[in-house]
């Protein structure tokens, strides 16, 4: 029997290390070392109920396990063969225990290609990767295919860049291949900076070899012998697992000189990011790898023609690479049979926010938002109403109820005013103010703008100021018009992808939540109750007994009134701190 313990960052933050130790101890105590093996794997995806422990071969899925539960799992399940019911996932609809993870709503609609090994194998053991057909794609390409044939396979599969832009991957490879140069580079973009997206990290933590294998395949196809992974320094676990994996691949002759007995040589090094969102843009990323400020430059020339140190460089994102080995082994036709007409395969999404099942999911392109939110995500938290889902991070926009049945793919999301982005999907409910959300993203962009071009550096700052003004209750209808015009100008004139997409959260919210913006401006009202300046604290005279508790606790003395008589709040002085509401024992103070 195998006990798989999730070793993703989320579960490790909740003591999954200690769970492994406790399980091992309980197994050793009973002398069951030959019958049961504990493996720390990558992310299972179901972060909401972590830490997860899965028992194979029977697929039992234990949720929210603590180190103290280890003893019972071993004593009952491993020793006596009885499942520990209290740790099983409970189906929220039927309230029944679900024994097998295959029957959980969260997994039923998912197809795992990029995440195929996450949560199945020990990422620190190359043999487990090899046992699941790992490196057979590299072998096939090196011994049976020419670079042109392999690239044709990728083109035929219809795979598009998973980092956000959606450029056809095979085509990019082909461009790099055709440029003649003495040296070429293969770069993996692992500078995942989108707030709320963590799929790249999960792949690197859970299945680092899939990326290494794909980079080597790319090297063979494009004629490069050097690979570089540009990874965030904030991802220590992913860095360590990647380093271990590279070391093992070298030991097994899968990296280095003369790979698998051929004359193809390829090796990989790491380069660390230092916290700059714009470095996800490929030209900025290359400058950062060269030890400079991560400022983007105008394209063309594209990195495929002139990239790292001036050499042709193929840049793809982690998730894109993770798809490559499977396309080679199972064939492009198989991959192209999944998804929609123009978006093939699957996409990994980081589902988070006001949703019941937070986690990492992978669904075929063309799955609808409704399926993702209600079937996989288990609906909105606390039974509230769905309001919006944000995709594409700071470059994307919010989709609303009217988009719930839109099949998700690159083109549909663009048409709806958002974009695929790297795959963050943040669900919002009725308590979220869309003006504040737009402001939140602008704050991010203002902070992360590299400052090189004026539209992004100055324009976004102005957008942010106008939004700030609106949330303070000082906005005018003219400001709304200004937001739209300025947003459009930034979109048209900014230098790089970050700048050109930065007004999207504002523009899409203006389109989809126009009424809410108007309400903020004309009625000075925030229906979600998020904009502090627009709230009014009012004492209900009939309920107030005049105990003076509120007046005594008001930090700015905004409350006046005689003892035993109804009190009043002076709106001019009130700073909306809410201290009075907390102190009132008679529920006489309301927020309006």
């Amino acid at each position: 029997m195998h006990l798989l313990v999730c070793g993703g960052t989320g579960c490790r933050s909740a003591e999954s290390d200690a769970i492994v130790d406790s399980l091992n101890k309980a197994i050793a105590d009973r002398g069951l070392e030959n019958d049961a093996k504990v493996v720390m794997t990558g992310c299972f995806g179901f972060c909401e109920k972590g830490p997860i422990v899965k028992v194979l071969p029977d697929n039992t899925f234990y949720t929210q396990v603590t180190p103290a539960d280890a003893e019972e799992i071993v004593a009952e399940h491993i020793y006596k063969g009885r499942r520990v019911n209290r740790l099983l996932y409970i189906n929220p609809e039927s309230q029944e225990h679900v024994e097998d993870s295959k029957h959980m709503g969260f997994y039923r609609k998912q197809i795992r290609i990029a995440l195929r090994n996450c949560g199945f194998i020990d990422p620190e053991n190359i043999e487990e990767y090899i046992a699941r057909d790992g490196y057979s794609a590299l072998g096939k390409v090196l011994t049976e295919m020419t670079p042109e044939e392999a690239i044709q396979s990728i083109i035929k599969s219809g795979l598009r860049g998973r980092g956000g832009g959606g450029f056809p991957t095979g085509l990019k490879w082909d461009i790099t291949r055709k440029v003649a140069a003495e040296k070429k580079y293969v770069v993996c973009n692992a500078d995942e900076g989108d707030p709320g997206a963590f799929m790249d990290r999960s792949i690197l933590e859970g299945d680092p070899h899939s990326v290494i294998e794909a980079m080597a395949i790319n090297g063979y196809c494009t004629g490069a012998s050097y690979g570089l992974v540009y990874i965030r320094a904030e991802y220590p676990l992913a860095i360590n697992r990647l380093k271990t994996a590279i070391g093992q691949a070298r030991e097994y002759g899968l990296l280095g000189n003369g790979i698998l007995g051929t004359d193809f040589s390829f090796d990989i090094e790491l380069r660390y990011g230092a916290g700059a969102f714009v470095c996800g843009e490929e030209t900025a990323l290359i400058h950062s790898m060269e030890g400079m400020r991560g400022e983007p430059t105008f394209k063309p020339p594209f990195p495929s023609e002139s990239g790292y140190l001036g050499y042709p460089t193929n840049v793809n994102n982690v998730e894109t690479y993770a798809n490559i080995p499977v396309i080679i082994t199972k064939g492009p036709e198989w991959f192209a049979s999944i998804g929609t007409e123009k978006s093939k395969g699957t996409k990994v999404f980081a589902l988070a926010g006001k949703i019941n099942n937070v986690g990492l999911i992978e669904v075929p392109m063309g799955t609808t938002l409704r399926e993702v939110i209600y079937e996989i995500g288990g609906g909105i938290k606390d039974g509230k109403n769905f309001k919006a889902v944000q995709t594409g991070g700071p470059s994307g926009g919010c989709l609303t109820t009217k988009h719930l049945d839109t099949p998700i793919d690159y083109d549909n999301l663009l048409a709806a005013g958002s974009m695929m982005g790297s795959g963050g999907m943040i669900v919002m409910d009725e308590d979220d103010c869309m003006v504040s959300i737009a402001k939140f993203y602008l704050e991010f962009t203002v902070e992360e703008s590299c400052g090189k071009c004026t539209p992004c550096r100055v324009g976004n700052k102005r957008l942010h100021e106008i939004l700030e003004k609106i949330t303070r209750g000082e906005g005018t209808m003219k400001d709304l018009e200004k937001l739209r015009n300025l947003g459009q100008v930034i979109k048209d004139t900014a230098l790089c992808g970050l700048g050109q997409t930065s007004p999207n959260p504002v523009l899409s919210n203006l389109d989809n939540f126009w009424d809410e913006f108007v309400e903020h401006v004309t009625e000075k009202k925030c229906r979600a109750g998020q904009c502090k300046h627009l709230l009014r604290y009012v004492i209900e005279p009939d309920a107030c007994v005049g105990c003076t508790a509120c007046a005594r606790n008001c930090p700015v003395n905004a409350i006046t009134g005689e003892r035993k008589k109804a009190h009043e709040i002076n709106q001019e002085i009130c700073i909306k701190c809410g201290a009075c509401v907390e102190k009132c024992k008679f529920n006489a103070i309301f927020v309006r």
């Binding site: 933050s13 230092a274 916290g275 400079m292 988070a352 937070v358 919002m428």
Partner: protein, 159 residues
């Protein structure tokens, strides 16, 4: 800015690090990562040494240091506190948690308490969105933090 006297042994370590990267200006970011590991932060004096060793200008080094948020020119507290401001944490109330930390520590984001014990920073997505809102103190991750739980977290480190 006060002049910092760099301890000799750390200074030698830094020079060794530069050497290990062949004093290549292209390795600047890797060198700065190591330098920050050694000194805990990157004061002007460290940047001058790096510039000299890599045979580049101090302006270039400063340009890079100030560009990337991971590099800091002020020493962090003994227990650096980072509040995740990723979208998932934001919609689950991270801002209120941040306000509570500011209130208790009486410092703003980017500052260190007078006793050098705590410093406060915001970061973008730890990737533990299932535990949102998330706070990190040093390497330790606290999940599902509510504003009224902030005091208890601080007390753990106040002894």
């Amino acid at each position: 800015m006060a002049i910092v006297k760099l301890p000799e042994n750390k200074l030698n370590q830094l020079i060794e690090v530069c050497k290990s990267f062949n004093n290549e200006p292209g390795e600047l970011i890797n060198v700065l990562h190591k330098a920050q590991e050694i000194f805990g932060y990157l004061p002007a004096e460290v940047q001058e040494v790096v510039a000299k060793e890599l045979n580049t200008s101090v302006a270039h080094v400063y340009g890079v240091v100030s560009f990337y948020s991971f590099f800091t020119m002020t020493p962090k507290g003994e227990h650096p506190i980072s509040i995740c401001m990723g979208t998932a944490c934001y919609v689950r109330g991270a801002e209120k948690v941040l306000d509570e930390f500011k209130h208790h520590l009486k410092i703003q984001v980017g500052e260190t308490t007078a006793d050098g014990k705590f410093s406060l920073a915001c970061l973008r997505c730890v990737g533990a969105c299932g535990l949102a809102p998330v706070v990190m103190v040093g390497e330790k991750v606290y999940g599902r933090v509510a504003p009224d739980g902030v005091k208890a977290i601080l007390e753990e480190y106040s002894a």
